[in-house]
Symmetry: C2
Subunit: 351 residues, 2 copies
């Protein structure tokens, strides 16, 4: 019988955090690609554009004028998917037709006054102010809502319609689907094994050293064993931390620094401003915030779409939408170059 080798033999892997399976078919990387390539990156973003609603001093869709902010800037999304006062759809008349109330707020957070930077091009102290802003918005909205989803869509490929560096914050009156899955899995793991799932997972990855991307005093970044996207990573604090506001000043500084390193690695990988969606998951908030959420460990997911180059992405389509996620290289095969590379210097000579 042939010996199993993950890089040669397809197999399925279990994601214990989100209770899902992924099909890993590493030999597929050999197949040629003649399909759609992504439009080349728009290279020249003006540092300031008075018509860009995210810029300091610009007028937004609702007529409000942005202040001349010089750090981060948080404001209400002018086209929010969640509003605070939507009425209740009322009781369902049939088990197959169930609708429920959804209330919330959507905010936008600019990371920097300049449009021509991205997080990896910002300084560590500048990124640190973003970390602080994430912690305070979690506190502010978490006082009223059980879930505060901070996420960044970076790059046109990820549906980001504005190059100005920013993220979004959607807080909701309900626990979203993926939050529910992570809640269920982490609770079950804790009650079965007596410790948080992601604490044990982080410890194992530090021991196994097969999927680590970066480690620092307070954080680790790894490609999870069950990663779906080719260059997906998980960012974890070493200490047991349930939510962003609990991070100490030292952990925040260190987070800013490891984020800069990770995102620079991403940019260097295909010599492009690397697109991704990322977001933070922490213990639920709102009126139940004081309950026991010790099974939760704070973490961020990075989901980048690229597969082979700056213009060839992984399509999560037919089989993935109808059957199961599928990836074309093993998490152990993922290799990043060094942290500093020519890309940053070449394209952004001002840095």
């Amino acid at each position: 019988a042939t010996t199993f080798r993950a890089s040669e033999h397809q197999h399925i892997r279990y994601n214990p955090l989100q209770d899902e399976w992924v099909l890993v078919s590493a030999h597929r990387m050999k197949r040629p690609w003649q399909g759609q390539v992504e439009p080349p990156l728009l290279m020249t973003v003006p540092r300031h554009d008075p018509h860009n609603p995210l810029c300091p001093g610009a007028t937004r869709a609702n007529g409000e004028v942005n202040p001349y902010y010089d750090g981060t800037f948080l404001f209400d999304n002018d086209f929010p998917a969640l509003q605070p006062d939507a009425p209740n759809p009322g009781p369902s008349d049939h088990p197959l037709f169930q609708a429920e109330a959804a209330r919330g707020v959507c905010k936008v957070m600019c990371f920097h006054p300049w449009s021509d930077v991205t997080l990896p091009l910002m300084s560590v102290p500048e990124i640190r102010t973003v970390v602080d802003a994430w912690a305070s918005v979690t506190e502010e909205l978490g006082a009223r809502y059980p879930w505060v989803q901070i996420f960044e869509n970076k790059g046109a490929m990820m549906g980001c319609s504005n190059p100005h560096p920013h993220c979004q914050v959607w807080a909701s009156s309900f626990l979203p689907d993926i939050a529910q899955r992570e809640e269920r899995s982490q609770r079950a793991y804790q009650s079965q094994h007596g410790e948080p799932l992601l604490m044990e997972y982080g410890r194992q990855e530090l021991l196994r050293k097969e999927r680590l991307v970066l480690t620092s005093e307070h954080w680790l970044v790894l490609v999870p064993f069950w990663a779906v996207w080719p260059f997906q990573t998980l960012l974890l604090p070493r200490r047991h931390v349930r939510r962003l506001p609990e991070l100490t000043p030292a952990e925040r500084d260190d987070l800013a620094s490891i984020m800069k390193k990770l995102l620079t690695k991403y940019d260097n990988l295909f010599e492009t401003s690397f697109p991704y969606s990322m977001g933070w998951h922490g213990a639920p908030t709102g009126s139940e915030a004081e309950a026991n959420w010790d099974h939760w460990q704070l973490h961020a997911h990075y989901y980048p779409p690229l597969l082979r180059s700056a213009t060839v992405r992984k399509f999560m389509v037919g089989y993935e939408m109808l059957a199961q996620a599928q990836r074309d290289l093993t998490p152990e095969q993922v290799r990043f170059q060094s942290t500093l590379g020519p890309w940053v210097l070449l394209l952004f000579p001002i840095f």
Copy 2:
């Protein structure tokens, strides 16, 4: 208090088939779009290209030469994600690191000898031969594997790298994630309500008439109450049918005809060759095929990515990847034009 109106007030809806929630925020359609637009459709596909590995008479990557087929043509994928003989990864050494064996086959099915047609441009008898080929491949692979996933990725936007009309068939030794979810939900519904979930659902939609797109003697097409993609549809037989091979000749003819109507409506919607991923779900097969699968109802899902026009798609990104699916118009607001439109005649004058 304001009266709830689905088209104005965001709410969440439950998908009882896949046990998931979707956030419906119809008012979001008002927001402007300045983001990425899709590259325009490549209009001139040659009818025959000897270098296209899907064409009759062409040589494929593995050196095999395609026959001069004149109907459908089924062959083994030259770069399969699933192979019949992958060894077993062996027992897991930790509950957070679980891998299991995955075996299977991947096939490609050409729908027609010409590269410049799509299903809606084929004649009803030609589509009927595709239906028959779907039924036989389900029988053939279903004899050995518990799940046979037929799916079509149509259009470059859906990662389809070859314009020649074709679909794929991936059969696996395991029940994929989404199959497992549908299995669980349908089984639970049957045991609680004494009839198949999708039989009752189809009946309800016929009564409510709010989301129907097409009905025929043997089939219905509707936008499900819990649709995630803007123009997502569900295609259902009226009779209780568990798997494709069980379809009668009359049901197959009628399926070919309703598919042509549905896909023409899709093409007409934004006057483009409408991209989508679609696939069939039927009761599991393989060695357990003879077990009781009466809770299963055969169906096809259509997942098209477009939102506003031929070049503006819905991005399922940050919030959707990290929290929950979100849609920007209600399923009840979806409107299709008539079945025959200028688009087909204009662009493909030969028809």
